[in-house]
């Protein structure tokens, strides 16, 4: 993989097609006899469903199927509404207008029940059920005797999922009473099994074709639109497509759970982090969706011999949520470091360098850190930003912040089933001189499936354009382990592709000229990567911001990031993924939190950050030719942005913000200049 430098710099082969809008997704496909589906959603968060009057909707010309709870188990409300937007009925009709009209004609008799409080503030004083616990050493005991103890309470509310492409789902009948589903998925085979289980079918009766992967979603879960398309197809025997509105996407598209973190840390007089106690209170809706607490939960970028990280879960009547991932914990941890730096009179960067994870350190999740270049990332981000000189020359109202993060690459994650965490790809030599690669992965390492094609091409000495790629099809590509999903599946598939390429080259050397076409399977197991010290992807980000203390408006003036992603396969794809992470970080740091209901919830109302919210920015990549292949750039950079901004604003305004995202109102409240 070391000789790929030049070809890697090319844009991905499908780039022109995607840029022109020519790439096809579920919303673009059409099949003979296609029907359009729609869901009737509960306007109440908690209610008793006393009855559904379907008569008028059924009588509407063009309606082909109308399902209530008994006909679509697992999708529709049975007797009681447990969350806002819970589907009450599903309709298939010859046009989308008729499907929506039919939904409007259904009369739901709902008796409202008291809803559980969902605001994070109310979670602070509640007695909540204990969730997963991470524990090292004796955090409470060491905290009590630490030279310096800092504590604060931080919060990161639930934010709706952002689907750059609407999560349309199209299902069509298949032979033997089965069906085919076109959708977005981070792991088509996992979606296939989830769907088969929900429908009571054998996995072989369901084929899932992933056309893209939802941004930032590592976990395969069944969206209501996928399940509804499948139920309606089985009910009508015809293809059915569901295309959710932006409001439906925001409501049911996999929002991240809101988190309130009660945090305490103990430091030695020299600034060493000696103990950390984090209690994370999560508002989960009726329960977390697949993936548990989310990507890299509890993976901390610092050495900490004594740690207690306790999750506590609060059910609410808000829609189901995905686990929040590491963002809230990092916001709290970095906030504590900032408070400690202030008390100790130390430079925030120096305090971070003192405590940064190094190879051989014990990880917060257990196990030993392997190659880890977090210190280098911090130093490079500091150098790129001109940390020391810039901090000294900042104008009033300006501040500079720095925050790091680490991510797990391919190894087994806590609680993961080792026997199910593997990827298999198939590589074939084609008679015309090219090759064909088949993979379950719907996203590639460093954000681009094209990287897989380039890896195989390099091993076989081909031009990447000579490698045909079949990806994301649960029926055509070889089966992988069900636990391998998202970026883990991408990384394992990259390793499996490299191995398949090597095998194919060896077979080629020994093959008879008139022999049959050659093909082979490549396999990579997460367990292999978990042998010995664990490889980590590291990143650090410095950020300069200005604060208008009278309006509360914040402007990010500059951003300097450094990221270690193992071997770089496609610099352009990596840059794209870094840009996406920065954009998501801006949303976590500065985006507004829209309500989950009401007329404002349209795509136009969803405040997404744009390049206008950012001054200059620059990312550097540390390349590691000895790494075990390409690493995912992922969301790590996004998580560094809120704490780096908070630190910059603490310098600019004199107060450390304890909440993210920071609206101008929240800034003024932090500064004590606005009430209510």
């Amino acid at each position: 993989m070391k000789n790929l430098a030049k070809p890697m710099a090319l844009p991905e082969l499908e780039a022109a097609l995607k840029a022109r809008g020519g790439a096809l997704f579920a919303q673009d496909l059409s099949l003979p006899g296609l029907l359009h589906g729609a869901l009737l959603l509960s306007p109440l968060a908690h209610a008793r469903l006393k009855g559904l009057d379907l008569a008028k909707a059924q009588a509407l010309a063009g309606v082909k199927a109308l399902l209530s709870a008994s006909q679509a188990p697992g999708l529709l409300t049975q007797g009681q509404v447990d969350y806002l937007g819970q589907p009450l009925a599903a309709v298939a009709a010859i046009s989308l207008d008729i499907a929506h009209k039919a939904c409007g004609l259904i009369k739901a008799d709902l008796e409202e029940l008291p809803a559980a409080p969902a605001s994070l503030e109310t979670l602070a004083g509640q007695d909540l059920a204990a969730g997963p616990l991470l524990s090292l050493g004796d955090a409470p005991g060491v905290l009590a005797q630490a030279d310096l103890k800092v504590q604060a309470q931080f919060s990161l509310p639930s934010l709706p999922a952002i689907w750059p492409l609407a999560p349309a789902a199209l299902a069509a009948p298949d032979l033997g009473g089965g069906l085919v589903l076109w959708c977005q998925s981070p792991a088509p085979q996992a979606t296939q099994h989830l769907l088969a289980q929900a429908l009571g079918l054998a996995p072989g009766q369901v084929r899932v074709i992933a056309l893209g992967c939802p941004a930032g979603q590592e976990e395969a879960w069944l969206t209501p639109w996928q399940l509804a398309a499948a139920h309606l197809t089985l009910a009508t025997g015809r293809p059915v497509r569901l295309l959710p509105s932006p409001a439906e996407q925001a409501l049911l598209g996999g929002r991240r759970a809101g988190v309130l973190v009660k945090a305490q840390a103990g430091f030695s007089a020299q600034g060493q982090l000696v103990a950390l106690d984090l209690e994370a209170r999560l508002e989960t809706g009726p329960g977390l969706l697949a993936g548990g607490l989310g990507p890299d939960w509890g993976l901390l970028p610092y050495r900490c011999p004594n740690l207690r990280c306790q999750a506590r879960l609060a059910a609410s009547n808000l829609p189901p949520a995905l686990g929040p991932g590491n963002a809230a914990l990092l916001l709290a941890l970095e906030g504590l470091l900032d408070l400690a730096a202030q008390s100790l009179g130390q430079d925030p960067l120096e305090l971070r360098l003192t405590n940064a994870l190094q190879p051989g350190d014990t990880l917060s999740l257990g196990g030993q850190a392997g190659p880890c270049r977090l210190r280098q990332c911090l130093e490079q981000a500091a150098q790129a930003s001109g940390w020391h000189s810039r901090r000294e020359s900042l104008a009033p109202g300006q501040g500079l912040g720095m925050a790091p993060a680490v991510q797990m690459l391919g190894p087994l994650r806590p609680g993961q089933d080792a026997s199910q965490a593997f990827a298999v790809v198939e590589a074939r030599l084609e008679p015309g001189g090219g090759a064909h690669l088949l993979t379950q992965a719907s996203i590639g390492p460093q954000g681009s499936l094209d990287a897989l094609r380039r890896i195989l091409a390099a091993e076989l000495g081909l031009d990447p354009a000579q490698v045909r790629l079949t990806s994301g099809d649960s029926a055509l590509a070889p089966a992988c382990g069900l636990a391998a999903q998202g970026s883990q599946l991408a990384r394992l598939s990259a390793l499996a592709t490299a191995r398949a390429g090597v095998q194919l080259r060896q077979m080629q050397a020994q093959a008879q000229p008139e022999g049959p076409p050659l093909s082979t399977l490549g396999l990579a197991r997460a367990q292999e990567l978990a042998q010995g010290p664990l490889e980590l992807a590291c990143e650090a980000l410095a950020l300069e911001a200005s604060l208008d203390a009278l309006t509360g408006q914040v402007r990010v003036l500059g951003l300097w990031a450094c990221q270690d992603c193992g071997q770089v396969i496609s610099p352009l794809a990596l840059a794209g993924q870094q840009a996406q992470a920065v954009q998501e970080g801006l949303r976590l740091a500065l985006g507004q939190v829209p309500p989950l209901e009401g007329p404002d919830l349209t795509l136009a109302g969803l405040p997404l950050p744009t390049t206008l919210d950012l001054g200059a920015w620059q990312t550097q990549t540390l390349e590691d030719q000895d790494a075990q292949g390409p690493a995912e750039a992922g969301l790590g950079l996004a998580w560094t942005l809120p704490p780096a901004l908070a630190q910059a604003l603490a310098q600019a305004g004199g107060q450390l913000p304890l909440v993210s995202p920071l609206s101008p109102m929240a800034v003024l409240q932090t500064l004590g200049r606005l009430r209510g």
């Binding site: 959710p244 507004q592 206008l612 200049r673």
Partner: protein
């Protein structure tokens, strides 16, 4: 989400445009930039079968300035064109600022000033500066034309005096006196591209004795319609400028505002912003006018 289907008509002249509106009167809307209308249609607003575009109507894309008559913006004048027009920047800086600050570059390249006004959005960014410049809109239908002051044009959120078959043909802004200054500022929690939760535009001139004359202040996003601030204007009119007086005028602007709470911003925040922005706008107007005097 329904996919709206409609026919777009591209009339070549005003006569033809009015004919088309009359012919399809039960299900027709006027299309300019489409940046506001099309998302609303996609979001499920009552469907229309016909859109009549102003974009190829002769003369409607004009941006004309004459020293005697002032500025005329045709219904098709794009925000980005207005923002960079040298005469607009020289004589109507608050309008240029509003056109350059609104939304994203892509939206500004498509959206029009007339469209921004015709939607009667209380937070329409071009309304406060045009009100501060005493702008009027020219409305035309088959029966004839009428000219309406902007203060009278807006009736409520999404409501204006525009009749169903009437077209906003142009915006007229009188020429501004020498030794004057104007400015526009907005605040949006969603960043520069977001919708303003409060905006303030101001205009003032200085007489030979340095007293403020013709003062006008207008607010956006803090009431059911954009509105003027007569109390604040009266406080300043005929007086010599000093910081304390500007501060009192800014406080008077808050009394004119009638903001509501919504998820973007609380009424408290909007009120606070009116005072902050009004003070800054007045300072900028004064600096310009004094610079002009020198």
């Amino acid at each position: 989400m329904a996919h709206p289907r409609f026919m777009v008509h591209q009339p070549a002249n005003l006569e033809e445009m009015l004919d088309l509106l009359g012919r399809h009167r039960t299900s027709v809307k006027v299309l300019a930039g489409g940046t506001d209308l099309l998302p609303r249609l996609r979001a499920g607003e009552p469907a229309v079968d016909h859109l009549v575009s102003v974009n190829r109507v002769a003369g409607l894309n004009r941006i004309n300035y004459m020293d005697e008559d002032g500025l005329v913006l045709g219904a098709g004048a794009r925000l980005s064109d207005v923002a960079r027009h040298p005469e607009v920047r020289r004589h109507y800086p608050a309008l240029a600022q509003a056109c350059a600050a609104l939304a994203t570059p892509q939206v500004r390249n498509a959206a029009t000033v007339a469209g921004n006004l015709a939607g009667a959005d209380p937070a329409a960014d071009t309304a406060p500066p045009l009100m501060a410049y005493r702008g009027t809109v020219v409305l035309v239908e088959r029966g004839g034309r009428r000219q309406v002051k902007l203060e009278q044009f807006f009736q409520g959120p999404g409501q204006s005096v525009l009749e169903p078959m009437e077209v906003l043909e142009a915006i007229r802004v009188p020429a501004q006196p020498a030794r004057s200054g104007s400015a526009f500022l907005r605040v949006s929690p969603q960043g520069p591209a977001g919708r303003a939760v409060a905006s303030v535009a101001g205009f003032l001139a200085l007489d030979l004795g340095g007293r403020m004359m013709g003062v006008r202040l207008a607010l956006g996003g803090v009431a059911p319609t954009p509105l003027r601030c007569p109390e604040a204007e009266a406080l300043l009119e005929g007086n010599e400028p000093h910081p304390e007086l500007l501060g009192r005028a800014a406080a008077a602007c808050v009394r004119a505002a009638r903001p509501a709470d919504d998820w973007r911003a609380s009424a408290n925040y909007r009120r606070a912003m009116v005072q902050v922005l009004a003070k800054r706008v007045l300072e900028q107007c004064l600096a310009q006018a004094q610079g002009g005097a020198q």
